[in-house]
């Protein structure tokens, strides 16, 4: 197994990740890529408490994640990389062309964002960034849990995602 999943989710570590994906996919490690969290000891402590004892959580900035991706790829455990926003994933994908699949698992409401699915709200700029990511050959889908259907980006941006 290896680092297989790349997820955008503004909640980072939460039940859908740890239980929803963690148990059926037997996740062995999580790579949390967030420049602010990577500099904040108390936030790391908090996120560390959110994962079960048998799951490792690693905190990276975009720069350190880029440098260590081959190491994560070589890991015999199944892993998931999570970013809290689209920008961070776009920066990672630009630095690492071997990221071929990105799942949008949760981008929640803020002023200026429009509902695209019940768990995805995007500003027009964020929608454009996801389209640009897809134009680079990355398959972008929306999927919150493994039991849910994966919604292709074009369907999502038409507002026809899960409601």
């Amino acid at each position: 197994m290896t680092l297989e999943m790349f997820r955008i989710d503004d909640r980072l570590v939460h039940g859908q990740v740890v239980v929803g994906w963690g148990q059926p996919c037997a996740l062995g490690f999580l790579v949390l890529v967030d420049d602010a969290v990577a500099q904040s000891a108390w936030e790391q402590d908090l996120y560390r408490m959110g994962v079960p004892p048998e799951m490792e959580i690693i905190f990276d900035t975009v720069v350190t994640a880029t440098a260590r991706l081959s190491e994560y790829r070589a890991d015999c455990r199944t892993g998931m990389l999570i970013t809290s926003d689209i920008d961070t994933m776009v920066r990672l994908a630009a630095a690492l062309p071997d990221i071929r699949n990105v799942t949008v698992g949760g981008v929640h409401h803020k002023p200026g964002r429009i509902a695209r699915a019940r768990y995805i709200y995007l500003t027009p700029e964020e929608a454009l960034r996801l389209q640009a990511l897809a134009a680079c050959g990355v398959t972008v889908v929306a999927q919150d849990v493994p039991q849910g259907a994966a919604t292709p980006l074009d369907v999502l941006l038409r507002g026809e995602g899960p409601t």
């Binding site: 909640r11 939460h14 108390w42 408490m49």
Partner: protein, 255 residues
């Protein structure tokens, strides 16, 4: 992360009001703010203690701040509510409070989901199934389920509020509690044990000593498993459960 002011107190009357309101934390749940309105509602009695009371500007700003998006496990949200109440009354900088509101929900949701939804709820269901198999009346089975489930439910809410209040924003130490860290694994083992006892006893209770219904029960189970497998990824669990419940009610009425 933050220095707590030991002189800040939360009157018991206010603490009881918060606890009571925590039961309605999902009362205004919606996809935009999730339980944000509920968090503000639960915090409101504490925020009235801010300078100027409920007509003051600090109160208004805090209520606005806490009505925004917040999504955690409903029971463990008590930890966040206690911590946020302490932070607001201690006068912790708004930037730290807002950062906490972003960081805390995920881990609280994760711990709660593992402990309650993936652990204690199946355990309580298996205990109730065992009670059914042992011949308890329908009302008794319901009471066993509610009693078992709410033992943890109520305990988590009360403990969470107190722990959040005493730790403030340094709540990671609270989540490091061995009960929260290790309990899901032990509860899973206990569930497997109780399920192993409950299933044959309950099946015996349904089928009875004869084997007349055995074929029908096995066929129903196999059909149900096939339908669930075929619908995997197409239909969400709660919709499937609602359909099954509706079919069961319809069958009972026709019968």
């Amino acid at each position: 992360m933050s220095s707590r002011n030991p002189e800040t107190t939360l009157p018991w009357r206010v603490r009881a009001a918060i606890l009571l309101r925590l039961f309605a934390i999902q009362g205004a749940w919606n996809y935009e703010t999730m339980m944000g309105n509920g968090v503000a509602f639960a915090l409101e009695p504490a925020l009235r203690l801010l300078p100027g009371g409920h007509r003051g500007e600090p109160f208004r700003q805090a209520m606005t701040r806490h009505s925004g998006y917040f999504n955690a496990h409903p029971y463990l949200a008590a930890v966040a509510v206690g911590a946020l109440a302490r932070a607001e009354l201690d006068g912790v900088p708004v930037s730290q409070i807002e950062r906490f509101r972003v960081a805390a929900p995920g881990p609280l949701g994760s711990v709660g989901d593992r402990l309650v939804w993936a652990g204690w709820l199946p355990f309580s269901s298996c205990v109730a199934l065992l009670a059914f198999g042992l011949g308890l009346s329908p009302g008794g089975v319901v009471l066993v389920f509610l009693g078992t489930f709410n033992l943890l439910h109520l305990g988590l809410r009360i403990w969470g509020l107190n722990a959040g209040w005493s730790q403030g924003l340094d709540v990671a130490a609270t989540l490091a509690n061995p009960v929260l860290r290790q309990a899901p694994a032990y509860v899973a083992r206990a569930t497997a044990l109780v399920a192993g006892m409950a299933l044959p006893v309950a099946a015996h209770g349904i089928i009875g000593p004869g084997r007349v219904l055995l074929g029908g029960v096995l066929a129903s189970v196999a059909t149900g498993a096939l339908i669930v497998t075929l619908l995997h990824g197409r239909l969400e669990g709660w919709r499937l459960a609602t359909l099954a419940l509706a079919a069961f009610v319809l069958f009972s009425m026709v019968r």
